[in-house]
Amino acid sequence: MREFAQLLIAGLSTGAIYASLALALVLIYQSTEVVNFAQGEMAMFSTFIAWELIDKGMPFWAAFALTLALAFFGGVTIERVLIRPVEKASVLTIVIVTVGLLLIFNNLAGGIWGFQLKTFPSPFPSGTWQVSGVVISQQSVGVFGVALLLMALLAVFFRFTALGLAMRATAMNREPAELMGIHTTWMLALGWGLAAVVGATAGVLVAPIVFLDPNMMQGLLLFAFAGATLGGFESPGGAVLGGLLVGVAQAMIGNYVSFIGTDLSLTVAMAIIVLVLVFKPTGLFGQAAARRV
């Protein structure tokens, strides 16, 4: 029981990171029906920027805030400059652009900062709490807390602000959104900006755990895909829950199913994706095909 509780907490903590990345994917998918394969590398690149800022002597949280701001403008710029020209092209074209972005960011980071692992400072204390025999790492709680706070802020933004509502309207049906006076192309760019912010948060939170290197997000992105697929690519809340579930499942299966361990955990992620696509393609929380026409 004690072991189970401990695994649950560890799983929720990594799950929160998957959930953030999954949410970033969904934010873009919802408004443009494009899966942004570069989401992980954008997050990685942002994390390197944070590392550079901290390395230059900036306090952690200031560097974090500045990184998020830069990530936001980076996301908006990428949409305006690279995605918008191909917006009306086939989905395949856009996918190729995002895969191209993936390679660009990966090589750029490698070129600037090199491919060797770097340590990334953690903003959280490395200590633990003991609650009736269960050991809780403060790092896990911190990661979970920050990720959850960010997602809560986004939920408030989309639910209660005029701008958030306008972004949702644009994602649902673009032409009437324009008739409401919404500048829809800017809403799409804003979606990319927010997704970049959420991704950067995931990168900065995970970097102290996995070390920083240009390939750090590739495995994570697969787990995020599994989470988004499980929860439903059409549903932000679902994607968050899916990410958390994948994190918990990974921790549990890795521990209780001895032949899988940590070596085969990516296989588990792939298995989740395939099983969901076969048995419930819309995910647990997605509605049946409300496609944009």
Binding site: A169, E178, L179, G181
Partner: protein
């Protein structure tokens, strides 16, 4: 108020309008009649900025708007109730109405307009927390009109509001459109296949066929016009 001159518009290779002239004076209700595919909706799409005309000009109070974006045309006081309502079906009634007021910053005015919309359509007040997609066809049309009114337009464009509705609902909706025109001085440009009802609330009417205006006259004259009666009024 609205001046459409020599308007030519096309969907790709298909020409939908071949030189249309329409004049909508301030405070009036003008209707454009015609069969399916005659080009009526195209006129409204061009006025609201969803479609860029290939030729001709559209002026609002003397200012050319035919090259402006849809988002900037709303800000100039033109709201379209589009064909097929085009609601945000996953959002609530209230959220749809709030989106209608997206361009406005005068909170008090928005509140007043919201109350006014609920007065015109009490059903919307009852269902304000419900998803727009769960409403009946008539309620959805009411919501589409209410949403357009939330922008507080000077010119309201209506694209076939009667489509798919039971006759008694159509009568209700037309009555409210004429009330809005009379009480708030909102100018109305109404595109319809239902000629009987639209001529009953309009001051002036145009009949278009295959992208051209074939007859135009005050509404009461059109009602008496034999060709119009045969083709559109059915008696």
């Amino acid at each position: 108020m609205l001046e459409i001159r020599d308007l030519v518009a096309a969907y790709g290779p298909v020409t939908a309008l071949r030189g249309v002239n329409v004049h909508v004076p301030q405070g009036t209700t003008v209707t454009i009649l015609g069969a399916n595919g005659a080009g009526k909706s195209t006129i409204l799409r061009a006025v609201s900025g969803l479609l860029k005309p290939t030729h001709g000009l559209i002026q609002l109070d003397g200012e050319r708007i035919d090259r402006k974006s849809a988002a900037s045309i709303v800000r100039r006081g033109i709201s379209l109730v589009p064909e097929g309502r085009q609601l945000f079906t996953a959002l609530t009634v209230e959220q749809n109405l709030r989106l209608g007021a997206f361009t406005r910053s005068d909170r008090r005015g928005v509140r007043e307009d919201l109350l006014r919309v609920y007065d015109y359509f009490p059903r919307l007040r009852e269902r304000m927390k419900q998803a727009a997609g769960s409403l009946s066809g008539g309620e959805q049309q009411m919501l589409a009109i209410g949403r357009a009114l939330m922008a507080h337009p000077r010119l309201l464009l209506l694209d076939e509001p009667s489509t798919g509705l039971a006759p008694f609902l159509v009568r209700d909706i037309f009555k409210i459109v004429s009330t809005i025109n009379r009480d708030q001085g909102t100018t109305v440009l109404l595109v319809e296949q239902n000629a009987t009802l639209s001529l009953s609330i309009a001051d002036y009417g145009y009949v278009i066929e295959t992208g051209r205006v074939v007859i135009e006259a005050p509404a009461h004259e059109l009602r008496e016009n034999e060709a119009v009666r045969k083709a559109y009024l059915g008696y």
